[in-house]
């Protein structure tokens, strides 16, 4: 009995020792901090290295590139560079840096810093997956892939401490957008050399040059940024900073919002959307936090064009015709997504391909599709081999694939299997071409049709459909070399026509971003006047212009 008792006591003490209250440092008030649901824990915070959306939400507010962007139109506005000039041939950009540009530790920020950062981002030692963002710069690609070893041959020239000249490989109309992309943010040489590898991105060492600086980084808990008094435009900033919470569970995130512990969410679970839509319909004039905003991306399926019968364009077209895009966006995704009528999202930097693909499936589509299928040797779907539609877990992929499977069965008599794979296995299968049909999504790197069209050239890294067309490749090359914007868009249009005729892909819808925005969150315009929260097409967060009201 005594022994038993002592055993109980000992285990009780052990547990009591473990328990004590959660020793969490932060109980400080969140007064005047914007509280943001940020999806998932960032991989890192080195702007030259990261590739993800959660990382860019944070970095865009901690750093500033040569140029910055208008928070709504995304047009280039002065960043670290006060002004710039572009040569006649559109191949040389000269940036004039602010004399008062500083790092958050007070050290002066010069043109040398930019040169060093760009070369670091391109260095093979850093092995940055996004190094190709710098490829418009002359010899950048050759240096990155070690075809040339001499960094002085890369088109980056420091004219003086406050003047930087970049020479491009070829004219790049969206280059001033790239100079405000996080891979081209300056990184603090004086800190990185003292704390090499990724040590410099820890809260205790990290130095940045943007409107905010890192204050806390607790793994899977939060990242806290606070205002940076060294920032040239510091006077404009109205908030104290922001918390980014990596909340992976969408239901937890929205419940946090409902309990008032978030100002913005990363997403809205599609099951909740009908509820919000009803609330909006009931009182259309009052503020509702549920917001749908456009997003530069396309949801589509890939066809493996090597795999019979998908190597037959008639089969691909028949399958394309019988997917009811409108039904999918109105009854499954629910977030105001736009049925795809082409591959490039409408109004991508002023480029809209004329509506070509059918929005819904009517008798005419079914008839044409059946005829095509019969011509391809599968009358009423007879003899059509059982192909698998591959998808990964997450979001609404499962629901979309289940309903497309039903649409093909009903409209064509074609039986398609469903196959879900874990994310990395899925990527591997698509990359190795071990699939028949696979779901996919493409978010544009920059607002320009090029990011949607140059991926389909032969051996394009993101093609993965095994489709290629020499004429298509030629048109993309022509567009890249074109100086006149109208002529350039003309080449894109011709290329996209080929893409939509040959259909190595099945576009489904143009993404939107759905999220919750607290009524307390407002924005300031250039004159500092309050206005409603407004989004932009790349869903970038510009905390510099945010303000909180009671």
């Amino acid at each position: 009995m005594k022994r038993l008792f002592s055993l109980y006591l000992a285990s009780g003490l052990l547990l009591a020792g473990l328990i004590t209250t959660p020793a969490v440092g932060d109980t400080a008030s969140h007064e005047n901090f914007v509280l943001i649901g940020n999806g998932t824990e960032p991989k890192g915070l080195d702007p030259s290295l990261v590739t993800g959306v959660p990382e860019s939400h944070i970095l865009d507010n901690m750093f500033e590139g040569l140029t910055n962007r208008d928070p709504i139109t995304l047009q280039p506005v002065p960043g670290v560079a006060e002004s710039w000039s572009i040569s006649e041939d559109n191949k040389t950009y000269t940036f004039h840096l602010r004399k008062n540009a500083r790092w958050s530790d007070g050290v002066a920020l010069t043109a040398e810093d930019f040169k060093w950062s760009f070369l670091r981002a391109l260095s093979f030692q850093l092995a940055s997956p996004y190094a190709y963002q710098l490829y418009p710069i002359k010899n950048a690609e050759a240096f990155n892939t070690q075809k040339i070893k001499d960094p002085t041959q890369v088109g980056i020239k420091v004219l003086d401490a406050h003047t930087l000249q970049l020479e491009l490989e070829r004219p790049t109309p969206y280059f001033l957008y790239i100079t405000s992309f996080h891979t081209l943010y300056p990184t603090p040489r004086h800190v990185i050399e003292k704390h090499p590898d990724q040590e410099w991105t820890r809260a205790e060492y990290m130095v940045s040059n943007g409107a905010f600086k890192l204050a806390e980084w607790n793994l899977n808990q939060h990242i806290k940024i606070i205002t940076n008094p060294m920032y040239w435009d510091h006077a404009r900033i109205k908030i104290a900073g922001a918390y980014f919470y990596p909340i992976e569970n969408a239901d937890t995130e929205i419940r946090n919002f409902e309990a008032g512990s978030l100002h913005m969410t990363e997403r809205v679970p599609s099951m909740k959307i009908p509820l919000f839509k009803r609330e909006i319909a009931k009182s259309p004039n009052s503020y509702h936090p549920f917001k749908i905003t456009p997003y530069l991306g396309t949801y589509f399926f890939r066809f493996n064009t090597k795999k019979p019968p998908l190597n037959d364009v008639r089969v691909r077209r028949a399958l394309m015709l019988t997917v009811d895009r409108k039904m999918i966006v109105e009854h499954i995704t629910l977030g105001g997504q736009i049925p795809s009528r082409a591959f490039t999202p409408p109004n991508t930097a002023g480029y809209t391909y004329p509506p070509t693909l059918p929005e819904t499936v009517t008798e005419a589509e079914i008839k044409e599709a059946r005829t095509l299928l019969a011509q391809a040797g599968f009358p009423e779907g007879k003899g059509f081999p059982k192909l698998d539609l591959l998808y990964n877990n997450g979001d609404d992929h499962k629901k979309i694939c289940v309903s497309v499977q039903q649409m093909w069965r009903k409209n064509l008599g074609v039986e398609v299997g469903l196959l879900n794979q874990e994310w990395k296995v899925f990527l591997n299968s698509v990359h190795m071409g071990e699939y028949a049909l696979a779901r996919a999504g493409w978010i544009g790197d920059y607002p320009d049709p090029n990011t949607f069209l140059d991926m389909w050239v032969q051996n394009g890294g993101n093609n993965e459909t095994f489709w290629s067309d020499p004429e298509y490749d030629r048109l993309i090359d022509l567009a890249a070399a074109a100086l006149d914007p109208q002529a350039r868009y003309g080449h894109f249009r011709e290329a996209e026509k080929i893409l939509l005729d040959k259909l190595p892909i099945l576009p489904i819808y143009t993404y939107t971003k759905v999220g919750m925005i607290s009524p307390k969150l407002k924005m300031l315009d250039e004159q500092g006047k309050k206005m409603e929260w407004t989004s932009n097409i790349t869903q970038q967060i510009f905390l510099k212009y945010y303000t909180l009201v009671k």
């Binding site: 499954i332 629901k399 879900n420």
Partner: protein, 298 residues
């Protein structure tokens, strides 16, 4: 009444006529009303699962996007999910996979776990130590990779799912059985049997196993719902049930996202699972009492 040097009456009896124990058990469980009712329910559940295609006029895969999620009514008794599929049909079809997974994977885990645990505990010494270290190694292996690799090597296969689930569940079972056996084998009647020259095999099967049955039955009835729910995770990894086929695990996992909006999507799969579990437990309790060599004296 008895002094520790005497054998309890039943044990003596079962040494002499091992069969009567099991015959007694059948008779005893027949007399247990609750257990018999539970058995009937489980049989009914099983036949409903088998006859599912003849019982409903909806296909488990037939979507009706225009309809969407509707609350239960006279047409759709359990309502429909957000793709407009009939929930009753999906629960019925789901019971096929789930009952099979629950019973087979648990069976696998009982067979391996009890044998392993009994041998380890009874042998003792080095063998025991070695077998227990083996168990610890298996415990530590990353399950997610195990599943991914199984799937990649052998493709999607429902039998793999039983192996994957059973292979994990037997570990704890083995620990529990071993713990019981270590304690039981020092019991007087076991030493006595050994002294009388009864063979190890006979001792394990006649004297030790009947006495570990109680925790085994309890633990396996507890394992069944665990396995049924775990199946949803395997489906997530790509092994297991594939859409549009349903299972209780995936129905509950999907339903939880509709907790506030379409509660019937989670309510009915949960209730069905719970009823099955209640029945299994009563049956398990009945079995345990029936097989318990000591319950005669009550």
């Amino acid at each position: 009444m008895t002094s520790p040097t005497h054998f309890p009456r039943d044990e003596v009896a079962s040494i002499e006529m091992g069969r009567s124990l099991w015959q007694d058990a059948v008779q005893r469980i027949r007399g247990n009303k609750v257990a018999m009712m539970s058995l009937c329910y489980l049989v009914l559940q099983g036949s409903l699962a088998l006859l599912a295609p003849y019982l409903t006029r909806f296909g488990y895969e037939t979507t009706d996007l225009m309809l969407g999620a509707t609350a239960p009514d006279w047409v759709h008794w359990f309502g429909t999910d957000d793709l407009g599929r009939d929930m009753l049909t999906r629960v019925l079809y789901g019971s096929r996979v789930s009952l099979m997974v629950g019973l087979l994977a648990t069976f696998v885990s009982v067979v391996i776990g009890v044998t392993y645990g009994a041998v380890s505990g009874y042998a003792g010494g080095r063998v025991d130590a070695l077998m227990m270290r083996g168990l610890e190694i298996l415990y530590a292996m990353p399950f997610t990779f195990f599943v991914i690799i199984l799937m990649v090597l052998f493709g999607r296969n429902i039998y793999l799912m039983f192996i994957a689930l059973g292979a994990v569940q037997w570990l704890t079972m083995a620990r529990i059985v071993r713990g019981q056996v270590v304690s039981l084998k020092t019991m007087e009647y076991v030493s006595a049997a050994r002294a009388m020259g009864v063979r190890n095999r006979a001792i394990i099967f006649r004297h030790i196993l009947p006495n570990v049955l109680s925790p085994v039955i309890i633990y396996s009835t507890l394992t069944i719902p665990g396995v049924i729910l775990e199946e949803a995770f395997l489906s997530f990894l790509g092994l297991g049930v594939q859409e549009p086929m349903s299972s209780w695990g995936t129905l509950i996992a999907d339903g939880v996202t509709a907790l506030e909006t379409f509660p019937w999507m989670i309510l009915y799969p949960c209730i069905t699972l719970m009823l099955t579990l209640v029945a299994l437990n009563f049956l398990g309790d009945g079995l345990r009492e029936a097989l318990d060599p000591k319950s005669n004296g009550d």
